[in-house]
């Protein structure tokens, strides 16, 4: 199927589909909703990071007969949250493995009595020794998960790394670390659940993946499909934080609904959400690189480790994506990546925009600048000499068949940012000023959609139907949480059907109505699901032409009339398609070889950073983002995704630190978890190159996560340029900058 080159709706800045409701304050988020007879629910959580539960006592000052109390013993099905590995209990049963682990649940009509009751449950523990770092877990002196603390490991090899060192002109080593990061969606996690003998379980809530929650409820309640229903409410931000965690919260609310006989609402306050829910996996990445005299890569050897927290959750897939993004957009004949994910007694880590790529790309792109400094090569030039081109193979020996325009992206980024002129200017001004400025860049890619055979495994089903009122509905389980799903998929359908954008809506994100078109993650919505919708629309037109006399050209009225004629004989007007893998996707899960991703988005980002040597604060003063993302379906929304992702990446680099004390997040308030405000973000300049990808919805590739991959390394590279000091860990706070500057220039510091 050919993608049309001229489109009316795709590529146009149409109004956000649900925008008016949001602007009027009419959009209904879960906490805006009440159900008749609704109670409130709360969670009693572990106060220790690891141990056995010796006793649970209920203080007699509370009248517990007023409450519904749920423990592990009340779970009808499996006491396990379905994700990848069946290791995480829905409720702790006899032992706990992290602070804030849910132990029991309480429900009551009065929120104040509920809060008092939470404090009136006395739990006695027999503590066991906890571990809190990758290193402790690796040592295995204390084993907290499985036989050896190892949640997952991968080995990726290409060529023959061991033979490359001897002949190398240069060998450069480095170690890079990234910290945990909190999503800080402005809407806290929340669910409302109902339970009845006739309908089974129904939940409404803030979530990304209705069918993940569906699967989790089905297992916990041991119910058949027809008795489980999940409906997404308007969701106030997610970023991956509502990909896996909602399954737990939904099960909790539903268990309380079952026990109490009432609908139950559970909405976390900020302190609980920060302390108890998932965050980005911290990482430690070690590089060893062999280069020829011109700085061309001969061998890359990487040891990449993540902290998974107490349960596996999505650690294996995060690790997978980290591995597949760890060697950068570069050609290298010899590669070895050993990757491991380790269990600790911290709150389990989970999905967060980028999903392992930000960690891996931080390390690779910082390391490239260290290589450049060691070899005395300009950082941009070093990258240019190593860029992948069409026909090259990457680390998994995937041949680059689609266009790769990294040189062009780099040229544009250097030009738009005035990179060289600025560096010259700063070299002069830095000497005379207490502000030191620098420029830094990062080159990277992000694989769109699920890895390798993942999309085939998901086997997504999606389609469109037409109501008797003449409204076309897009039928997908993909959800809107700000990033534009509702708008772009209705744009695609309107374009593909040749009708007005206003005539196309999204069917409610309700598992009782829509098929499973896969989760809303992995930057797959516009590319993978968009493509299925495009095909389903073409299929509908073909059916209308064959059975309802629709002409080759038609007006919207003629289209709708044809639909009614079709309905008269067929009973309904609906068209579904399943995912079809692009040709030539071959992936071996054992050897990690083949087509890792069907498509890649490519980018070069440049940061201008100022380091204040009086306060040791680093601020991003300006930022340029150049990317090739296939067809841009909505220019305003696409730019908005890039800008938002960059703001989060700036936070990741310079502001956002999770302070952990004895396994608890000590800074679990917004006043102490620092994200950039409107006064902190730099001007962000966004440039798109578009090379339509023929297997993506109207040529689209993924875009949602790419922007979070580039800022942190670009910023730390700029700080290196500004100060001459290599900082290799994020978040890089002023206290860390001070320590680095003091170590590097002790005389100058003492003289102050």
């Amino acid at each position: 199927m050919k993608t049309p080159s001229a489109t009316r709706i795709v590529g146009a800045p149409v109004p956000r589909k649900e925008g008016v409701d949001k602007l009027l304050g009419r959009a209904r988020y879960v906490d805006d909703i009440e159900r008749e007879g609704m109670w409130h629910g709360a969670t009693v959580r572990s106060s220790i990071p690891r141990g056995l539960i010796r006793s649970i006592a209920f203080d007699r000052r509370i009248d517990w007969t007023e409450f519904a109390v749920v423990t592990a013993a009340d779970i009808p099905g499996e006491n396990c949250i379905q994700l990848i590995v069946a290791d995480q209990p829905c409720l702790a049963d006899g032992k706990v493995n992290h602070c804030e682990e849910p132990i029991l649940l309480l429900a009551h009509p009065d929120q104040h009595k509920l809060r008092e009751a939470v404090g009136a449950v006395r739990i006695e523990y027999e503590p066991l020794p906890p571990i809190f770092t990758i290193e402790e877990s690796e040592r295995r002196d204390v084993v907290v998960w499985g036989a050896d603390n190892l949640l997952k490991s991968f080995l990726l090899e290409k060529g023959d790394v061991d033979s490359a060192w001897a002949g190398a002109a240069h060998i450069v080593e480095g170690e890079y670390r990234t910290g945990a990061q909190e999503h800080l969606y402005i809407e806290n996690q929340g669910m409302i659940a109902e339970y009845g003998a006739e309908n089974g379980v129904t939940v409404w809530g803030s979530l990304q993946c209705p069918y993940y929650v569906f699967k989790a409820l089905r297992a916990v309640f041991d119910l058949p499909d027809e008795k489980v229903r999940v409906i997404q409410t308007e969701t106030g931000g997610a970023f991956g934080g509502k990909e896996d965690y909602p399954s737990t919260l939904a099960c909790h609310a539903a268990l309380l609904a079952m026990k109490s006989g009432h609908p139950v609402k559970m909405v976390y306050d900020r302190m609980e959400d920060l302390a108890a829910t998932t965050k980005r996996h911290p990482s430690r990445v070690r590089h060893r690189t062999a280069l020829d005299p011109d700085g061309k890569l001969l061998a890359i050897e990487i040891d990449l480790a993540t902290d998974g927290g107490a349960y596996a959750t999505l650690s294996s897939t995060v690790l997978s994506r980290a591995v597949l993004h760890s060697t950068g957009p570069y050609l290298c004949p010899n590669v070895r990546v050993r990757a491991t994910s380790w269990a600790t007694n911290l709150v389990p880590y989970g999905a967060f925009r980028g999903f392992g790529a930000p960690q891996a790309i931080f390390a690779m792109e910082r390391h490239m600048d260290e290589i450049a400094a060691t070899l005395g090569i300009d950082p941009a030039e070093l990258r240019r000499r190593n860029f992948l081109h069409v026909g090259d193979t990457n680390a998994t020996e995937q041949e680059m068949r689609e266009p790769v325009i990294l040189d062009q992206l780099l040229d544009r980024a250097l030009k738009e940012s005035g990179y060289y002129a600025k560096r010259e200017q700063f070299a002069r001004s830095n000497v005379k000023s207490s502000i030191r400025r620098g420029m830094g860049l990062a080159a990277f890619y992000h694989g769109s959609g699920f890895t390798g055979s993942g999309e085939a495994y998901l086997n997504s089903l999606a389609g469109v139907d037409v109501t008797p009122e003449g409204n076309v509905r897009v039928l997908v389980s993909n959800t809107e949480f700000g990033q534009g799903t509702n708008t772009i998929l209705t744009q695609v359908a309107a374009e593909a059907l040749g009708i007005d954008y206003a005539n196309v809506t999204m069917a409610a994100p309700d598992t009782g109505i829509v098929p499973n078109s896969g989760p809303t993650v992995a930057s797959r919505t516009s590319m993978v699901v968009g493509r299925i919708i495009e095909r389903a629309c073409s299929q509908l037109l073909a059916l209308l032409r064959e059975y309802a006399g629709l002409g080759t050209t038609y007006t919207q009225k003629e289209f709708l009339d044809a639909c009614e004629r079709y309905r008269a004989t067929r009973g309904e007007v609906v068209s579904f398609c399943r995912y079809e893998a692009p040709p030539g996707i071959v992936w071996d899960d054992q050897t990690y070889h083949g087509e890792a991703y069907g498509a890649y988005a490519w980018a070069v980002y440049v940061a201008q950073v100022a380091v204040d040597t009086v306060t040791y604060s680093a601020e991003v003063e300006d930022f340029w983002a150049v990317q090739e993302v296939g067809r841009v379906i909505h220019p305003v929304m696409a730019a908005g995704q890039v800008e938002g992702g960059i703001a989060q990446g700036i936070g990741y680099a310079l502001y956002e630190k999770v302070f952990s004390q004895d396994g608890r997040m000590a800074n679990n308030q917004m006043t102490n978890y620092i994200i950039p405000t409107a006064e902190d973000v730099p001007p962000i300049h966004v440039y798109f190159e578009q090379i339509p990808f023929q297997y993506g919805g109207f040529g689209a590739k993924g875009i949602g996560e790419l922007p979070h991959d580039g800022p942190a390394p670009a910023i730390l590279n700029a700080i290196r340029d500004a100060t001459g000091i290599a900082f290799n860990a994020i978040p890089l706070l002023p206290e860390d900058l001070y320590a680095g500057l003091a170590a590097a220039e002790p005389e100058e510091m003492a003289a102050r």
Partner: protein, 292 residues
């Protein structure tokens, strides 16, 4: 949200006398609440112990700003927006106007009060360095009458001050004698807005023929409460500002400050930045001493 509104009494007398009577009749039983930007945070977090609160919001005596030739009197319940909008403060007390603009957000500035900032007594209080540098006086009121205390003596320990159980902070007075002083204010926070100070320094100085005749240094987050840097001032008084005198002030500074490690920063960082801020101020007094 962990507070239970039904567990608290809140009353709002319309005039000051009634408030003072209440504090006198039941000393220590009633907690005054002005804009609520501190107490309501504690309430939401479930940490507000005070069962009975008396609102100062809307009592006209407490919010007025009066100007005489000798001084400006700021009612304790004047908000930070009130301060920003006052012409005398803008022209003669720019450090206070600046501090007011750095407090939280516009929404917080319209509710947070100068008196509340001082009585809350955070060592990081945003208005304190400026008040210390401007030699502010605190006026305290009760049914027994009024008394004045230099602001530099108001705080006596971590979140402790000189107020007796029946007393209310009434006004803050600033002498109108700083128009020709050199002044400086810098707050170092975690980001540009909505940040609690890791270190802050406010300073005023009067030089005659290059000699320091007056100097006042007010610091936040370097001690259990906002404080004047008395020893550092003494080391600089009567001196000219040279590289040497700047250096010699450092030991005095490092001896008298007591920075700590906490969730926002480290003692070591605070110590170094305090010295840097002092240098930055002193250099502004004699720019020729700055080297490239």
């Amino acid at each position: 949200m962990r507070g239970n509104a039904a567990m608290h009494d809140l009353i709002a007398p319309s005039e000051l006398g009634a408030v003072l009577q209440l504090l006198a009749a039941e000393p220590g039983a009633w907690t005054p609440i002005a804009g609520g930007t501190e107490l309501m945070v504690a309430f939401s977090a479930g940490h507000l112990a005070a069962p009975k609160l008396v609102s100062l919001w809307g009592i006209p005596d407490l919010r007025s700003i009066g100007v005489t030739p000798a001084s400006i009197s700021i009612g304790a319940a004047a908000t930070f927006l009130d301060l920003r909008r006052n012409a005398t403060i803008a022209s003669e007390f720019p450090l206070l106007a600046k501090a007011a603009s750095w407090i939280g957000s516009v929404a917080n500035q319209g509710r947070a009060t100068l008196g509340g900032n001082l009585v809350n007594g955070s060592p990081a209080a945003d208005s304190s360095p400026a008040l210390l540098a401007y030699d502010a006086d605190i006026e305290i009121i009760s049914v027994r009458g009024r008394r004045r205390v230099p602001y530099s003596a108001f705080h006596t320990g971590y979140k402790r001050n000189v107020l007796l159980p029946d007393e209310l902070l009434y006004a803050i007075h600033l002498p109108r004698r700083f128009a020709r002083h050199a002044s400086y204010l810098r707050k170092v926070g975690t980001r540009r807005a909505m940040a609690i100070a890791k270190v802050a320094l406010g300073a005023t100085a009067l030089l005659e023929n290059g000699v320091v005749r007056e100097i006042r240094l007010g610091a936040a987050s370097l001690a259990p409460f906002p404080t004047r840097l008395w020893q550092t001032e003494a080391a600089l008084l009567g001196q000219t500002v040279t590289r040497e005198t700047m250096q010699s002030a450092h030991p005095a500074l490092l001896a008298e400050i007591k920075p700590i490690n906490d969730i926002r920063s480290t003692a070591e960082y605070r110590r170094q930045v305090a010295a840097n801020l002092l240098d930055e101020f002193l250099l502004s007094l004699n720019p020729e001493e700055s080297q490239s």
